[in-house]
């Protein structure tokens, strides 16, 4: 029986962590994820969890302590944002290459500079090739639910990769919404006990973790990580199916919102999907066949599934909340177009960089994207594939 509550995204994440009751949490506060370790340390102080809370002096140390704890055989978690993640960067790669199933909440924020504390996805995009599983959450409920599923994915013996649960800074992290919580007992039953096969504190099997990996070995170890990422797809699917049986809430690699009979569609991640759904509903009332593909699983990237889901469309817009500053497209656009090309599907496609540094993205703007798509759909011609949404420019 679910519990009806109202919580912010940060609270929902902290509550999920409390229910999971990990062995170690090491974290350093950074806006907008500060509240997660703040709430969690309250749970520690009140004796509501058995967790060892390590108040570290930097994010590099937060990830290092999390790695040490996980390698020792503990279940370890952390949370961060933007520049905190930047400071973790070295250890982010160590965590995944040592195959430690750490779970981290990433509350997405623009990576400075110029200094900005508001939401975009530049922090997440900066670690997209770091070997972490990355799940994105439209709202507080999804941030909570993804967190409950994370350990089952990360700790699966065919995966053993760290997982990052993303949500939009401020937009969901600080907005209070209605949410369905599960009971502590049910959560602990679903998440299960962490039973690593090899760990440092096992006196019966002394092991070395992270030894020097020279020219003859690193390539193979990286390929093992890539293999684990491929394996993760079926595990993420299975865990979501079990989760649905338990809670009734359905999760897939991506959500198809009125997509199957659509002619034009937007692809985006996190909270923008909520705004886009409202616009899709309005357009549908006017008879426009608009749809949405909301990507949940960004790493591993569901190339075949996405190309199949989009193949029937007349025009598609990919919304990137981070600019790759590469004189070409954003990261999501590149992944989606590459998926289409490799799978032999061609749909006219256009990229919009939007919402940078917390710039508000309105229904009107999303509607303008659908208008552009309707225009493209007429003859399939894309004049300029690399566009901005909501950028101020001098009128010419």
């Amino acid at each position: 029986m679910s519990i009806r509550e109202r919580l912010s995204g940060n609270e929902a994440t902290a509550v999920a962590m409390k229910q999971i009751n990990p062995d170690v949490v090491a974290a350093f506060p950074i806006t907008p994820s500060t509240e997660i370790p703040q709430y969690f340390s309250t749970f520690v102080a009140n004796g509501e969890v058995d967790t060892e809370f390590v108040a570290v002096e930097s994010e590099h140390s937060a990830m290092s302590a999390t790695i040490g704890a996980e390698a020792a055989g503990a279940r370890a978690m952390t949370a961060t944002s933007a520049n905190g993640l930047s400071l973790m960067w070295e250890m982010i790669y160590i965590a995944s290459s040592l195959r430690l199933p750490i779970v981290m909440a990433l509350v997405n924020r623009a990576v400075s500079g110029p200094l900005n504390i508001h939401n975009d996805h530049s922090d997440a995009m900066g670690v997209r090739d770091a070997g972490w599983i990355m799940l994105f959450s439209e709202n507080n409920q999804e941030a909570y639910d993804n967190m409950l599923m994370a350990h089952r994915i990360a700790e699966n013996k065919d995966v053993l990769l760290p997982v990052m649960i993303c949500q939009d800074g401020f937009i969901t992290s600080h907005s209070i919404e209605n949410i369905q919580l599960e009971t502590d007992e049910e959560v602990r039953k679903f998440v299960g006990q962490y039973k690593p096969e090899h760990y440092l504190l096992n006196a019966d099997e002394p092991i070395a973790v992270g030894p020097l990996d020279v020219q003859a070995y690193l390539f193979e170890h990286k390929a093992q990580q890539a293999e684990a990422m491929r394996n993760a797809k079926k595990v993420i699917k299975k865990v979501a199916e079990d989760f649905e049986k338990w809670t009734g809430r359905k999760y897939e690699f991506f959500e198809k919102y009125k997509l199957d009979d659509a002619e034009i569609a937007i692809i985006c991640m996190n909270s923008t999907a909520g705004t886009t759904k409202a616009v899709v509903d309005q357009l549908r009332q006017k008879g426009v066949k608009a749809g949405l593909l909301k990507l949940r699983m960004f790493r591993p990237f569901p190339t075949e599934e996405i190309s199949e889901a989009l193949a029937h469309l007349k025009a598609v817009a990919v919304l990137d909340k981070a600019d790759s500053l590469n004189a070409a497209g954003g990261a999501l656009f590149e992944d989606v177009t590459s998926a289409m090309y490799v799978n032999g599907k061609h749909v006219p496609m256009v990229n919009y960089i939007y919402g940078i540094g917390g710039r508000d993205t309105t229904e009107k703007q999303i509607e303008s994207v659908y208008s552009d798509l309707a225009e493209i759909a007429k003859n399939g011609k894309v004049e300029n594939p690399y566009r901005y949404l909501g950028l101020r420019r001098r009128e010419n």
Partner: protein, 99 residues
Amino acid sequence: MTEINAKTPMEDLTIGGDIYCAGNAREFKTGDWRSMKPIWLEEKCKQCGLCFPVCPDNAIPVGKDLKRKDYNYDYCKGCGVCAKVCPFKAIEMKEEGVE
């Protein structure tokens, strides 16, 4: 723990290169990193015992009689700390490969 080498396929390597046994540093011979080689001049050595505790690689074997023996060049990296602490000039540093 199974033996691995540069021909082992990726499927047979442990994840992350983890080593599921202890004391394996012995199998990693670091002596070929050496550019300078310490030479023990036994006739000058007073067996004072200052050299072997400072060796970072345990490359100076010590017998049950508590006397040092000649170098274990499989592990000596030629750092020269032993030569520096020797009060009797009984350790000479020579360029590796030059006789």
